[in-house]
Subunit: 215 residues, 4 copies
């Protein structure tokens, strides 16, 4: 049976899915991890990996059967999105995924959350949030490329839940995830789906700085 | 074992590979087949399916192991392309796939073949060809989105072979393929790889006209 | 008085217009002419200059007055395109301008002409042409980036006129033009508009090869 | 004499420059102001106007003479950027201009400022700022598409000055500006350059909501 192009990691339960790895995805991960990659190449190849993760994330959304008529008058039995999706990026690195989402869903609404950690106490705090006002009735693609500890995502999901979004309507789109972050996030939100391209003990923490050039 | 995100169709041998189907790919195919899709939407969603086919085609190219150093000084064992690829589009519909190829391979060289069928005899004839001059030493991604009979592709591959490209260095990137076309092309060129998103008796023949708006 | 962002060159009459030069346009021209520019940079900066020329070409098309209502209920007196435009690229180098045209006019129809010169007689001959079937009723943006002699353009315009396009409905979009080519084309088609970014005795003849990487 | 494609508005002094208006720019402004424009069209045409404003903003940056060698061995006297620029967007609407900046300057560094107004006191306050660490030595393209009062921009410029950026190294890139905002900002920062596409008493305040779909 062919169930799609992502696989679940048994150790984290059915809701942590990993993009089906292949040579070119490993190549993209290699380029992104390489400290000698130029900023221009880094951005180009990160954008490719982002698009692949976004495409697979969209595949987790609900679809309905539909029939369409082709130019020759034949009927084709296909699928269509169920409407009511939106994207939410976690500032700053999550914003790198916004263009990839737009490349796939032309006019999808995109909200934003800014979480900052207190330099002394290390407590993460939401300082800014802007959503479509009917977000409680939408499927939410939460975008955050690098998860090291999971703390920022915990805060962001809490804000979504405070705005009425059910946990099982959230799909976290991620590029690189540590096992400890996966464990933390799944433990806190067992109904949320997590899609990543790699589970690896070391996350490339230079991602945001290198992508945007603010180091 | 997970060998990638495409599957082989046993009836046509190991070299005909089909993109691993999932809900969103069926959705894209539905939109492209629907006669009521606007040109603007048609182009947008065709571009998405093209990118997915191109990404999977690139996955058929040869890769080598490599080790890179990460910003923290760790060594990461990854993969890199073996150099020496190029794209060749079959005019006109194949040109729709050029941008998708550039979105994935920033400065890849792209050649072009124009094949026309004689209105009376239906014989396909090459009227124009332009290639990188070292094409005989490259892997060639041959781009042609719709295969109904396979006749145009036969002519195009013959031209590539006349220019010294070995058959097993050609990967045909295709969106929609009829079983009869697959059989014709595999019969003529058993060493060439064919990658498509769908094998279906009816190919959406309005593709080129709708994509470029020249009907 | 400065009524737009292009100026006419008096020596060639009112229909040869040059993009209003400024520092960044000169910079783009410098990068394109520099033999040490990498292919990746060449394509990136050529695309920028192409977009600027396309934007200014669109400005030559006819517009009509229109009034729209703003979200606050106020009336704003503006302009809108008169419908009925299309693009036609001259293969191969003209195709480099197709994406720029699409970046400005999302679903504009784009036709294509292939002109080849006989290697012995140097006579230019049309070997392929594909147009929207109602092209005679459209304004045509003819795309050809480099004009050295003007011979190819002469053939292409003749084909358009054979298809019923009035000469004064054609706007030639060009990046680099020699004075001799401007003189030839204006002499043959005094009603056609020509828009270029530079009149200079030396045209960068490596443009197509470097843009597409087929040398 | 017309020396470029922007003009100064005499009433605000030499540092307020307006994009040279033409039919297509008025068309873009019309589409953006029209309440009946779809979100998909709104974003497409806003992106076009943004690119034109960005292109003209880049033209305000300093350039140096340079000579390059062409493929035929000739020397071409041209121009090149003086290095050391960066972009800074004011969240949220300014972020709409980031892609346009990247479309013109492939790997330019982009910082970000978030200013929020107190709901009671209407005092604008900076809640987040992230810059390239050597920003004091760079020319800064400050991006903010709609200026109604100028208060947000005042705060943002103050933050840039606190980080050591000289006032005359800031170019404000803007789409729509009210005369009162122009007066306020010029009064506070007479050395800063302001580039806009239109001075008009009514700014399209729905811009950010419509562009991102968060209303």
């Amino acid at each position: 049976m062919c169930t799609g192009s992502s696989v679940s990691d048994a150790s984290f339960g059915p809701n942590v899915k990993i993009l089906n790895s292949n040579s070119q995805i490993v190549e993209l991960q290699t380029i992104i991890r390489d400290k000698n990659t130029s900023r221009s190449d880094f951005k180009f190849y990160a954008d490719r990996l982002i698009r692949l993760v976004i495409e697979e994330s969209l595949n987790q959304l609900p679809y309905s059967d539909c029939s369409v008529e082709t130019p020759t008058g034949a009927i084709y039995d296909g699928l269509k999105y169920r409407s009511g999706n939106c994207g939410v990026s976690i500032v700053r690195s999550g914003e790198a995924m916004e263009q990839g989402l737009r490349d796939c869903c032309r006019s999808i609404r995109i909200g934003k959350i800014l979480v900052e950690s207190d330099a002394d106490t290390h407590v993460a705090k939401v300082v800014y949030a802007r959503f479509p006002d009917d977000i409680a009735r939408r499927q939410v693609l939460l975008m955050y490329p690098i998860m090291s500890t999971g703390n920022t995502v915990l805060q962001a999901v809490n804000v979504l839940k405070e705005h009425g979004v059910p946990e099982d309507c959230i799909i976290l789109s991620n590029l690189f995830c540590t096992p400890i972050a996966a464990k933390t996030v799944v433990g806190a939100f067992p109904q949320m789906k997590i899609l990543t391209s790699e589970l690896h003990p070391v996350a490339p923490n230079h991602f945001g700085q290198k992508y945007f050039g603010t180091d």
